[in-house]
């Protein structure tokens, strides 16, 4: 049986530099990634951490950084049913195509018996739909259903 791999492609009217910055910037991720703010110096081998309201949600390590074309890090969730013991891998590929960016997120290398695949298959379409809206319209249209206390939160205009 082949190993599970989640692949999501979205096209964004933006530049690779802007998309790469949004994916790696603390304030930007806090806005489109449902309050999950990322911190890292993004050097290969450096830690990556996403915090939400002071709590560690995701951790990882930078595997590859070829800004603004490719970013890869390990992915260990610490929220919901996940206790920080289950590590997989995220690869983000950005390609300029005329006036748009083709963003491909590939999430794979799951541990045997991992339960993370189901969570991320729901999560990436939400996060990447929000990223596209954030970059194209300056708003983030969605709430994440797994943060119930945030359900119904109104869209905030981004001041940029």
């Amino acid at each position: 049986m082949s190993k599970p791999s989640f692949v999501y492609v979205t096209y964004i009217a933006s530049t690779p530099e802007k998309v790469f910055k949004a994916l790696t910037d603390t304030e930007a991720t806090a806005k489109f990634w449902f309050g999950n703010a990322v911190t890292s110096d993004w050097k290969v081998g450096s830690p990556v951490a996403f915090h939400r309201e002071g709590k560690l949600i995701l951790s990882g390590k930078v595997i590859e950084n070829d800004a603004p074309r490719r970013l890869s890090y390990t992915f260990t969730p610490h929220h919901g049913p996940h206790d920080g013991s289950d590590t997989s891998r995220v690869v983000m590929d950005l390609e300029q195509q005329k006036n748009q960016v083709k963003l491909t997120v590939t999430h794979d290398d799951f541990a045997p018996g991992s339960t993370v695949f189901a969570s991320i298959s729901n999560g990436w379409p939400l996060v990447l739909s929000n990223l596209k809206s954030y970059l194209e319209t300056g708003t983030t249209p969605l709430y994440a259903p797994w943060y119930e206390e945030n359900a119904g939160q109104k869209t905030e205009k981004v001041v940029s």
Binding site: Y8, V9, T10, Y11, I12, A13, Q97, K98, N99, Q100, P125, L126, S129, N130, K132, S133, E136, T137, T139, P141, L142, Y143, A151, G152, Q153, K154, T155
Partner: protein, 148 residues
Amino acid sequence: MSKPTFVYVTYIRSSAEKVWDALTLPEFTAKTWFGARHETEWKAGAAWRLILADGRLADSGEIVEIDRPRRLVLKWRNEWKPEIKEEGWSRCTIEIASEADGAVKLTVTHEANGPKLIEAVSGGWPRILSNVKSLLETGELVLKEKVS
């Protein structure tokens, strides 16, 4: 063994009716679907054809289920590439669900009999659905022309 399946989910700040119209009406598909248009009476059992901007027949089939603006199921066969047509009938299900906070969840599930149609629609749906989202949220398309 389960059939090869492509699933794509996107969230759009719009209403279910507008998303339905953007996927079905010719004035919208001319923009979002790179000039293609549907030829059908939009009722269960009716023939369905997708015509490319240059008049070529892209796909053909039948409306299996239609429940505007929530669910559309198409029997679908590629017509313009013999090696894909050979795989025979696929089934495409489009589901539109209202989410809280003024957004809709759009899910496209394409089940095929072989890998070639899946490869083709894996290239096509993200482009079309990225365009639908941009058009409804910004009034602009993300991809004005199809780039490979």
